[in-house]
C-alpha cells in the first residue's frame, strides 16, 4: 500500500492545480463576457495579416 504515499498527494495536487487555474481565470475576468466570447471565436480577421 506504499503506492498510496505518492499517489494520493499526486491526485490532490492535480485537483488543486485545477482549482487554482479556475481561481486565476475568474480573477482575470475570463467569465465576464460569455456572450462576447462566443462571437469572438468566430472572428478570423486576425488571420488576414499572416
Amino acid at each position: 500500500m506504499s503506492v498510496l504515499l505518492y499517489l494520493v498527494p499526486t491526485a490532490l495536487g492535480l485537483g488543486l492545480l485545477g482549482l487554482f487555474a479556475f481561481m486565476w481565470s475568474l480573477k482575470t475576468g475570463q467569465y465576464d463576457d460569455l456572450e462576447g466570447a462566443a462571437h469572438r471565436i468566430l472572428d478570423d480577421d486576425d488571420l488576414r495579416g499572416t
Partner: protein, 736 residues
Amino acid sequence: MGAAMSDSHTVPLTDLRREWVIEGIRSPQAQKDIEHALAALPELRYARLNLTNRRLTTEWTKKGQSAAVLMAALDALGYRAVPFTQNEAEALQAARTQWLLRCLAVAGFAAMNVMLLSVSVWSGNATEIAPETRDLFHWLSALIALPAAGFAGQPFFYAAIAALREREMTMDVPISLGVLLALGMSVYETAVHAHHAYFDSALMLLFFLLLGRVLDHVMRLRTRALAANLAALRAPFAHRLKADGSLEEVPADALQSGDVMLVAAGERLAADGTVIEGRSDMDDSFLTGESMRRMVSPGDSVFAGMMNGAGQLRIKVAQTGARTVLAEIEDLMEKALHVRSRYVQIADRIARIYAPIVHVTAALTALGWILAGASLHDAIIIAIAVLIITCPCALALAAPAVQVVVSGGLFRNGLLMRAGDVIERMADVDYVVFDKTGTLTVPDPAGLDFAGLPPDMRIIAARLAMASRHPLARALGAAVQAQNGALSPLANVTEVTGQGVEAFYEKTLVRLGSPAFCQVEMGPAPMGQAVSHLAFRFGEQAWCISMTQTLRIDAVKTVAELKAMGLEVMILSGDHQEAVRPVAEQLSIKTWQGGLSPADKLTQLQKLRAEGHTVLMVGDGLNDAPALAAASVSISPASGADVTQAAADLVFMGERLGVVPLALRLCRKGRRVMVENFLLALVYNLLAVPLAMAGWVTPLIAAAAMSGSSVLVALNALRARHIAAGGLPETKREQS
C-alpha cells in the same frame, strides 16, 4: 459629426484605462466592427467590447489624450460611447457573485476528491479493506473537507448567524446545521474507526446549493447592469448661463429648476427641461427605442440623457438629479428586481413557516427512532438526512428566480413593470381591450384642419391645449407651436374628465374638447378615414377642428398576432363612431364601440369581467386611468415624462404595439415555469421526506436529492430567459 465634437466631449483622461457604455448595439457584429475600428487607432493600446453588458474597455497609450478620436471613430460606425463608472450597487453585486463562484469552486474541488476517497472506502468495505487504510482515507477526507466546508460554507453560515440574531428562521439555518452536524458526526465516526463517514454529503450539499445561488446572482447582475448603463447616460456636467450672461460649468447636481443651461452640439443633457431657444435634432433612443432622431424646437420638453444633435440649444431646467425621468426609469428597473409577485410572497411565507418545521421534524424523527429502539448513533444519522432533505430550498428559489428572469426580459424590450404581480395577471388574460386615440392610432399633425379658425384663435386654442394631456390636444399644441414658436400654457385650466378643458382668457370662457362639450356641430367626416374632432369655443363663437389619425406602424400585425394567440380583441373608444369604424375595419376587429364616456368604458369593462373574462386594457395612461384600473391588468404606451406618470401595470417606451403580445407571451411562459417549479419542489418534498423519516435515505443521498432539486428549479427558471431572448419577434429584427 466631427465638427460637432464640442469641448464637453474631450473628456480628460486621468487614468489610462476607461470604461464606456455603448449605445446602438443591435447585433453581435458590433463587437467585430468596434474592435477592429479601434485597433486601427494609434492612441489606443487596447479596446475590448463586452457584449453581455454592452460596455467597452479601452486603454490609452499615454496620459492626457483626448477621447474625441474614439468618439469620432464610433460615431462613424453609428455607435455612441458614454463614459461609465460602475455604481456601488452593481459593484457589490458583482463582488458577491465572484465570491459565490469562488466558494462554488472550492466546494466542487473538495467534493470531487472526497467522493473518490469515499468510493474507495465503500468498495473496500464490500471486499476486505485494512482498517488502517480506511482510517487513513477518512482522515484524508477530513483534512480536505473541514477547511473546504469552512470556506465554501461562509455564505450560509454568515446568513444563518444574521438571521438568528434577528430572531428569524431562514433556510440558511437548517442548511448550516445540517452541514455542521454531518461534519461533526463524521469526525467522531472517523475517531472511533467506524465504517462510514459523511464528509462527502456535506460538501455535495454545499456545492449544489452554491450552484443554485450563483445562477440566481448572475441573473440579477445582468439586469442591474442594464439599469446602470441607463444611468450613465446622464451628463455629469452642464453649462449654466449666469445672470450676467456668462457661462459656467457646474456639476449636474448643482443645477436647479429654473436655471438656464446652454447645450452645445453633440452634448448630452444633464437635466430635464424645456427648450427656450434654438432648434436641433435630438437622440432620445433610450426613451423611445427608436433610432430616428427627433427635431426639437422652442417649447418642446427634453430629458436628461438625450443627446443633442447639430444645433445649439438653450434649455430651461425643470427637473434635476433624482427627479429626472431618467433617474425615475432607473429607479423603476431597480425596484422590479425586488418587487414581490404573489408567487414570491407565497414562497416566502411557506419558507418562513417551513424552517421551524424542518427542525421539529428532524428532532421528532431522532426521538421516534430512539424510542423504537435504534441506537443514538443511527437516530442522529437519520435525523441529519431528514434535516437536509426537508429544506425547501427549491421552493424558496422557485418563484423569485423566474421573476428576475421575466422582468429582465420585459426590460430588454422596453417594458417597465409597475406592479409586482403583473406576471400572474398577464398570464390569465383572455380578452384584450384597446383604446383608440393615442394607442392604436396616433394623431397625424399633417392632417390637421383648422376649418376657418383664425390664427389668433389658434394660438389661444393651442395655449389651452397645452394644459391638457389628451393626445389630440397635445398634437394641436405641438402643431401650432411648430408654426408660431414657443407658447406658454394658459393658467387656471380646469379639466372636465372625458370632456375637455376650460379656462378664462381675459374674462372670456374658453373651452377645448369634444364637440358636445363645446356645443358645436361636428363637421362632416370623410368616409373611410379615421378623422377625430376637437372643438374650440371662445365665448359665443365655436369652431370644429378635425385631425386625421394614422395607425401605429405595427398595429395590424399586433392585432393579428393577438388573435392568433386565441385572444378576443375589442376597441372601446371615446371618439365618435365614424372615427372608430375605419380603424376597426383596417384591423379587422369585429367588436368595437365608439362615443363612450369614461363611465361607459368602466361599465363595459366591468361587464366583461363579470362574464368571467380576464381583461387586458391597452390605453392612454394619463387620460384613461379609471378604465385602466378597472381592467384586470393594463398596459400603456408612454414617451418622455409619461413613463413615470402613466397609471398602468406595465408601461412601454417606443412606438411599437408589438410589445403587447410579446409581454403576454413572456408572462405566460414565466407563470408556467413558476408553476412547474412549485410542482417540482412539492413533489420532491412529498416523496423524499417520508423516505428519509423511514430511515431509507443516507445523508449522501439526502444531500444529492435536496440540492439536485434546487438546481433543477434554477435551471428551469433559466428556460424562461431563453424564451425571452429567442421569442423577440418583429420589434428587434426590424430595427437591425
